[in-house]
């Protein structure tokens, strides 16, 4: 019962660059990424199966999740 999370861009400097497998139905994306968000000093939008979701979303079996950082540099 697993879900893959792929970190994009900036976040790859703070977490696994390869897709990362987490258990489904347990913790929300916000909980899973809390530590990394702090380390990266950057917010993000979870994109689940191509759709934007909130951080409160709890991943379900088979989900493909991409983490798009919210940070930009002018």
């Amino acid at each position: 019962m697993a879900v893959t999370i792929r970190l994009l861009g900036l976040f790859r400097q703070y977490g696994p660059p390869e897709p990362w497998v987490v258990p489904a139905g347990e913790r929300s994306i916000g909980e899973l990424l809390a530590e990394m968000e702090e380390k990266a000093h950057a917010g993000y939008i979870p994109i689940v199966n191509g759709e934007r979701k909130s951080k409160a979303y709890v991943p379900e079996e088979g989900d493909e999740i991409k983490i798009m950082p919210l940070v930009t540099g002018g």
């Binding site: 792929r6 970190l7 994009l8 861009g9 900036l10 976040f11 790859r12 400097q13 968000e37 000093h41 950057a42 917010g43 939008i45 994109i47 191509g50 759709e51 934007r52 991409k66 983490i67 798009m68 950082p69 919210l70 940070v71 930009t72 540099g73 002018g74």
Partner: protein
């Protein structure tokens, strides 16, 4: 019509006459407003090859439909003209507190024509404008000017777009300032104001913009504000200086005028989180902004002097810090403040200093040329001295009257080979060897090398557009993806400049195209699917290209500087160059519907509803 007034204010500075013309609804249906509206006016009303500093050039300020409610990021405005730095089309955009009040005057755009016989400023108010004497403002810096206009009009709420002493002197990189912390920075729009003896444009309107569904529009704006405020919390904390370290980490930030490979130490010293603490930062939001990426700083120097005000952004830190190997953040903050007050673009200013330092290193300029100054890399005193000289066009600053190409001609020899520019506009602080799409994006930039139209560097940070069918950012160092990435980012970022919404609402706050579609529907009553929305961006881009092609620009002008063909020896972009440039350019032209020489085809223009503008092509 909803979301717009359908009104264009014309101010003839020669005759000192003001008039209001109608703008038909079809124009907004085709072009939205802002950047595209300005391009249309410029194309139709100025002759080919008009001298940017002549009275015949026009200076247009325009906004879009989003100033009708308190929509997040609607402090944005666009200024459109022929640019003195490049001689091409120029659109520059700023934020601040001006745009919504301008719209509430009952107009969507203002065109300045002619030239006043003495310094003036224009006060736009409900349904009209007043031309006022500006002799008392001439010579004042951008901050003083804003304050003096508030006093002159007896109302501290009134904001004025204005120029500093550089604009008055028609400096080729003079910018237009708003509130002292937001700038239409690039390409010299401030010089066009100076050429017209126009010191400032104040605006204060109280009229309610007609909105299709005012209740829903206001409610949706409020909801979106709350959403973006939450999503943008981290970006608010550190602003754009946050990306100095990660962008250096992928080789994107300029080092030693594009010759250095790595600068980890410099990035850590200049970027956030250190920046935030060292300069005592507070976020400084523009009007209706849920993020506040601008930085208010308070810094005490060792000699006890205090600098309080607007702090440097990513671009300034990149060009005046890392680019010059300057690691002293206090000096970069000071240089930023000097440039802002004089009213010059910090990007080109930093590029020019880097160019001079390199010429010094090679011995092409000597103490006799520099007045005894040793132009050593990393020297904060040299940075400050050269900002002063460039800003006032004195000493070595005088070499740049025609931009970097002019300075290279002045120095002679090989100097022209080391410049990093397109169409005479210096590269901003993002390296195409790290993100290949930047090479072609800069090359075809309608105002020269520009990172805001589009901004493919955001794809390297992880940004992409799922609503446009992307399933992730395209690989940043694969030549086959370069043109595609540039096109998608150009269309979206130019769309934002037609809507006149701050682009950081997307990249920093997570605003989606779907949310823009919904808000646009409430504002105007028109429902436009997202794939159609981005076509507004493309239309604006094609019109801008037509203006340049009419003046004789084509493929030969869409260049990649020599340095970009030289890979790094070590570090994250070792062995990488955005080449072959010609092939990437071919891909780009094909995606844009241009012929092999970079000329828009009639078929493509017709498919976008722009067929009648083909008549302007040679």
């Amino acid at each position: 019509m909803y979301g717009y007034w359908g009104k264009l204010l014309r101010v003839n500075l020669t005759s000192r006459a003001c008039r209001i013309d109608d703008i038909p609804e079809e124009t907004f249906d085709l072009l939205l407003g802002g950047s595209a509206l300005g391009a249309k006016i410029l194309l139709e009303e100025t002759p080919a090859k008009v001298d940017p500093l002549s009275p015949e050039n026009k200076l247009i300020f325009a906004v879009g439909p989003f100033q009708g409610v308190k929509f997040p990021g609607n402090g944005k405005w666009s200024v459109i003209t022929k640019g003195p730095l490049t001689g091409t089309f120029l659109e520059s955009a700023g934020t601040g507190h001006w745009a919504p009040y301008f719209k509430q005057c009952g107009i969507d755009a203002v065109v300045f024509e002619g030239r006043a016989d003495s310094p003036v400023y224009v006060f736009i108010k409900d349904g009209g404008a007043e031309i006022r004497d500006a002799a008392f403002l001439w010579g004042k810096d951008t901050i003083e000017t804003g304050e003096l206009i508030k006093e002159d009009l007896g109302d501290r709420r009134i904001n004025a777009l204005n120029i500093g002493p550089a604009g008055e002197r028609m400096h080729p990189i003079a910018c237009i300032s708003c509130d002292g912390h937001s700038f239409a920075g690039r390409g010299g729009a401030g010089a066009v104001m100076g050429s017209k003896n126009l010191k400032a444009v104040a605006a204060w309107g109280t009229m309610e913009v007609p909105v299709h569904d005012p209740e829903k529009a206001a409610e949706f704006a409020k909801e979106t504000f709350r959403l973006l405020s939450g999503q943008g919390e981290k970006f608010r904390a550190h602003g754009t200086p946050r990306v100095i370290v990660p962008l250096e980490g992928i080789g994107d930030t300029p080092i030693k005028y594009w010759r250095g490979d790595e600068n980890k130490r410099g990035a850590a010293l200049l970027g956030a989180p250190r920046y935030t603490e060292y300069l005592n930062v507070k976020p400084l939001p523009c009007i209706n902004c849920p993020i506040g990426c601008h930085r208010h700083i308070r810094f005490e120097y060792p000699d006890g002097t205090v600098l309080e005000g607007n702090g440097p952004e990513y671009e300034t830190i990149g060009m005046m810090g890392s680019n010059l190997l300057v690691e002293d953040l206090g000096a970069v903050a000071k240089a930023n403040d000097m440039a802002n007050r004089l009213g010059i673009d910090t990007i080109s200013c930093g590029a020019w200093i880097g160019f001079l330092m390199e010429c010094w290193e090679y011995g092409w300029i000597t103490p006799r040329d520099t007045g005894g100054l040793s132009l050593k890399w990393g020297d904060p005193d040299v940075l400050l001295a050269l900002v002063e000289q460039i800003g006032t066009m004195t000493g070595m600053g005088g070499w740049f009257r025609e931009g970097i190409r002019g300075a290279a001609r002045h120095i002679g020899g090989e100097a022209e080979k080391i410049t990093v520019e397109v169409k005479n506009m210096d590269y901003p602080a993002h390296d195409p060897r790290a993100v290949y799409a930047l090479g072609v994006n800069y090359a075809v930039g309608t105002r020269g090398a520009c990172h805001e139209r589009g901004n493919p560097q955001t794809s390297a940070l992880g940004g992409y557009f799922p609503e446009l069918g992307q399933d992730g950012p395209y690989d940043r160092q694969t030549p086959e993806f370069a043109a595609k990435t540039a096109v998608i980012h150009q269309d979206v970022s130019v769309l934002m400049n037609c809507m006149t919404i701050c682009q950081f609402m997307m990249g920093g706050g997570g605003l989606t195209l779907t949310e823009i579609r919904t808000a646009y529907r409430y504002l105007t009553g028109k429902d436009v699917p997202v794939e159609e929305l981005v076509k507004f961006g493309e239309r604006a881009w094609q019109l801008q290209r037509i203006i340049n092609v009419r003046d004789g620009l084509d493929r030969k002008d869409d260049t990649l500087p020599l340095k970009m063909t030289v890979p790094a020896m070590v570090g994250p972009r070792a062995g990488k160059t955005p080449t072959p440039h010609d092939r990437i350019l071919d891909d780009y032209y094909e995606l844009r519907g241009w012929d092999r020489n970079g000329i828009p085809t009639r078929e493509r223009l017709e498919s976008l509803g722009l067929g009648r503008f083909a008549a302007f092509l040679p």
